[in-house]
Symmetry: C2
Subunit: 260 residues, 2 copies
């Protein structure tokens, strides 16, 4: 593993619940030598990717991140383009809606909207990468992904995240066939024991999958009626989002989302 990767990995430990991390804690987290970690941290800090709380000396994400995300938004405005439509879906259904994009063999959350209409809500951590086999977003992606990706995942270890996680290649394969058929993926307690979700794929300019839009809600609010609503919202949403991002729904599959 290269030095660059080692340093960048440090950034992944920051999350909503853990906005600041000290040197020693980092050493425990990544299990590398203190001197090494310290040098990485200072170098990241020098470049503005981290900044130090002057009183606790703990590190937190720095201003360069903001600057770069500004550039990316200005030139490739995924978020700002998506925000209105994702919010609209979230408000219509009344449940947390998020869009995630493929990044290697996991999904990277790009945007989420939470209507906050219920007392309980799904906690969505935008910093957490989503595994493909344990989320409805992942299944939606995999079902329409190129051969190689599905093969890699089917072969690889299928870690268990919650009681309902698919952990065998055969059930995953069967599930993917079903998703390909229906156009949307549905999961209950796959990633978290209290939430279920549905998702639909999003396509890029050449009709290739680039990510997924998903709606997640507490299992306790599940019902046949709700599922139908959610599915309808996703069928509508995936088309709009795909279109917004300059993508096209592959014609051979298009009918799956047009009807309902």
């Amino acid at each position: 593993m290269g030095t660059i990767t080692k340093a960048l990995e440090l950034l992944n430990y920051f999350a909503r619940q853990k906005p600041e991390i000290g040197l020693t804690e980092f050493v425990r987290l990544v299990d590398r030598d203190k001197a090494t970690v310290h040098r990485h941290l200072t170098e990241l800090t020098e470049n503005g990717f981290l900044e130090q709380n002057p009183v606790t000396r703990a590190y937190r994400l720095g201003p360069s991140i903001l600057r770069l995300s500004g550039v990316r938004e200005a030139t490739h405005p995924v978020r700002s383009v998506l925000r209105p439509v994702v919010s609209e879906i979230a408000n219509a259904v009344g449940e947390l809606t998020h869009v995630s994009l493929i990044h290697g063999d996991v999904l990277s959350p790009a945007l989420h909207a939470d209507p906050m209409t219920h007392g309980t809500q799904v906690a969505f951590d935008e910093s957490e990468m989503l595994p493909l086999h344990a989320t409805s977003s992942g299944l939606a992606v995999l079902a329409f992904a190129p051969e190689g990706m599905a093969r890699r995942i089917l072969k690889g270890p299928l870690d268990r995240y919650a009681d309902g996680t698919i952990t065998t290649a055969s059930t995953l394969q069967a599930m993917l066939d079903e998703v390909r058929e229906r156009g949307t993926a549905s999961q209950d307690r796959a990633f978290d024991n209290e939430v279920c979700s549905q998702a639909a794929p999003i396509f890029g300019p050449d009709g290739e999958v680039t990510g997924a839009v998903a709606i997640a809600f507490p299992t306790v609010r599940d019902s046949d009626e709700k599922r139908a609503d959610v599915r309808a919202a996703l069928c509508d949403g995936m088309a709009r989002i795909t279109h917004q991002l300059g993508g096209v729904v592959p014609p051979e599959h298009a009918d799956k989302w047009s009807g309902a």
Copy 2:
């Protein structure tokens, strides 16, 4: 210079005008060996900080940037907290308003709002770092910064950016005294030959300067009346922004901005 810094520096070459950069172009830009640059680029790509345009194979900023900026926003919401107030100022004055934060010895833009009420407008590049001696934001910061920082800048080379750039330590020193007196900095043709600007400092929790809020407009629209308006907006804005960020205006200076 460490490997990490070399790699991260690559990210700085992306800007609004240059959203995608190919391997060879990078080699020219940074003047390092192609193999080295390539390894850095691939490593950044593997970590999602870059992504490759599948057709041109050129690199652009990747999804991890979005993810991390989401985390930073969730835990340390500078942008979303600032957006309404900055927009409000921009709309009130009718000119481009931006907030920049100190990052080493330069300023890193954090947010800007452009009311787009005029035919011509200042082009603001959120990816460009602002030098302290050649921008009104920089002067506002320097005037209230700790000793050391001002000393470093006064000593260092004062590069010329435009016809009005301050390039001698003595005039800079005089200007800083004046800014400290007035509370706001004003510059004409310091960074760009067609724009002038005014700025006020922003303070952190311990009364230390953390950045500046500035209003920039084409020199052709300059007038005494406009200057007064802008200054008033900044005096109001700096207090609100400082407060929003959990900072306090140092009591010994506070009167400078309260009156007007």
